[in-house]
């Protein structure tokens, strides 16, 4: 990173951190700049790596090879389908004809659902259920036995907690209480990991300020 780049990054880092004291115009500037730059970068990136090489270049290349726009259009006719669907998607911005944008959306939902239904069953439901079908007594390994029982009780308890077709009383009440215990442990683990993640991000920025900007550490 160049010296100018480092100074800009350091200024923007401190500008964002200044929100911790209180909201202020410098923070707002950095926040808006981030959103604007991200959106602009996304558009240019998608244009230069996808839309131009995959949609426009084939027409230009075919024209260069054949010398005829007619041949170029006919040979790349299939590209009109995604192009038209893409343009139609943008019609959401015009309320009177916004309904047309439902066509590409339905196309996407159809493909998404088609891909997801089988994939979810094959790649999520079955392997996860299979992973809970473990022997509850493992000869010679008390630790594995304990783990497997814990897994079984945790799964049954948590599923029991989310069974809402009957009032949680009696056996179901007890089961759901066990389920809550496991769910709370899961929340605790998630919270702990979240703290770790946020501290890591802070370490990253402070390390950048001390090492790359101020050269206080190597």
């Amino acid at each position: 990173m160049t010296v100018v780049g480092i100074w800009i990054a350091a200024f923007l880092t401190l500008a964002i951190f200044s929100f911790l004291y209180k909201d202020n115009p410098v923070y707002k500037f950095a926040e808006h700049l981030y959103v604007g730059v991200s959106a602009g970068y996304y558009v240019i990136y998608v244009w230069s790596t996808d839309i131009r090489p995959l949609l426009f270049n084939p027409f230009v290349q075919t024209h260069a090879q054949t010398g005829s726009w007619g041949a170029s259009l006919s040979q790349n006719a299939a590209l009109f389908i995604p192009a038209v669907l893409g343009v139609v998607m943008l019609l959401r911005a015009f309320p009177k004809i916004a309904w047309v944008s439902r066509w590409p959306i339905s196309f996407m939902v159809g493909i998404g659902a088609g891909l997801a239904i089988t994939a979810d069953v094959q790649g999520y439901l079955f392997p996860q259920v299979q992973a809970t079908l473990v022997p509850l007594w493992v000869r010679g390994s008390l630790f594995t036995t304990f783990n497997n029982v814990l897994l079984f009780v945790g799964v049954v308890g948590s599923v029991g907690y989310f069974y809402f077709s009957r009032e949680h009383k009696g056996f179901l009440g007890g089961l759901s209480k066990i389920g809550i215990l496991f769910i709370m442990v899961a929340f605790g683990a998630s919270f702990g990991y979240t703290v770790m993640a946020r501290i890591s991000l802070l370490i990253g920025r402070i390390h950048f300020l001390f090492a790359d900007w101020l050269h206080l550490i190597r």
């Binding site: 911790l20 992973a131 370490i203």
Partner: protein, 273 residues
């Protein structure tokens, strides 16, 4: 309990300042610590270590600058290990804003280890359509990426001349900051049987453990701690290991806050009763 009343009304900016100081001090003082290697990270390392030289490893960049402090050290450590073992790297990603970050990392490590573009590594870039892209790569990579990220046709790059789909790839390492890793598992691991390991942000790690337990993942690098472990395994200390004392100090302070908060809560409840 005068101190308790004061504690309840403490300006949260003091807490921010406390966390900042506690995190900054170990970095400034250059404190060092060793890390214990956990089985999920060790498994990732061993899986890569066992691959024969010349094997193709696909690395998916599914994060961007917002989680760079956690994800980038993992990427660098994994790439160093893979290049050390003379493995071939195909870089791609599903986060358009992340690809430049991944490219920076790949170029940096390739330069350090004198690797040649097109011979030792290839950068495919980004295509929109996550699940559709993943499924199509299983048929023919060229259907999705006819050229690399600079527009060079894949067939002109020596390394990928004979790489057509997941059958030609030995391992996928996803560096992840969102739910894209679940797409990899359900669309690719389950359907095509591709072996995969994930490097995730710490927030995601607890959710990813279930795939480790079910055997759908061979390894998991969780958060900066995971990155530090991998740095330790490849014997190349970076920001992961440098950040561990600060990480521990930050955690201790948070634990102290939690204890104080709970004491305050129970004492005030007793007072009200």
């Amino acid at each position: 309990m005068n101190w308790l009343a004061k504690l309840e009304k403490i300006d949260r900016r003091w807490i921010f300042l406390g966390v900042a100081l506690v995190v900054a001090a170990p970095l400034l003082l250059g404190l060092k610590t060793s890390v214990d290697i956990t089985p999920p990270v060790k498994n990732t390392y061993e899986t890569i270590d066992r691959l024969p030289p010349g094997s193709v490893v696909m690395v998916s960049i599914d994060y961007d600058a917002s989680t760079m402090p956690e994800n980038q050290p993992m990427l660098l450590a994994v790439l160093r290990h893979a290049f050390q073992k003379n493995l071939k790297i195909i870089l791609m990603g599903h986060w358009p804003l992340g690809l430049p970050v991944g490219t920076l990392g790949l170029d940096q490590v390739a330069r350090e280890m004198h690797k040649t573009y097109g011979v030792d590594y290839v950068n495919l870039g980004f295509r929109p359509g996550t699940a559709a892209v993943m499924v199509n790569l299983g048929t023919e990579i060229r259907n999705v990426f006819p050229s690399d990220y600079k527009g060079v046709p894949l067939d002109s790059l020596e390394m990928v001349k004979n790489v057509h789909n997941y059958n030609d790839i030995r391992l996928l390492v996803g560096i992840e900051a969102g739910d894209t890793y679940e797409f990899w598992i359900i669309y690719v691991q389950a359907r095509f049987g591709l072996k995969m390991a994930m490097g995730t942000t710490a927030v995601m790690a607890p959710t990813a453990y279930k795939y480790l337990q079910s055997g759908q993942l061979v390894g998991l690098i969780g958060g900066l701690k995971g990155a530090a472990e991998y740095e330790s395994l490849v014997n190349h200390p970076g920001i992961g290991l440098a950040g561990m004392p600060a990480q521990s100090a930050g955690h201790l302070l948070i634990i102290l806050f939690i204890i104080l908060g709970n004491i305050g809560y129970f004492l005030s409840r007793r007072k009200k009763a």
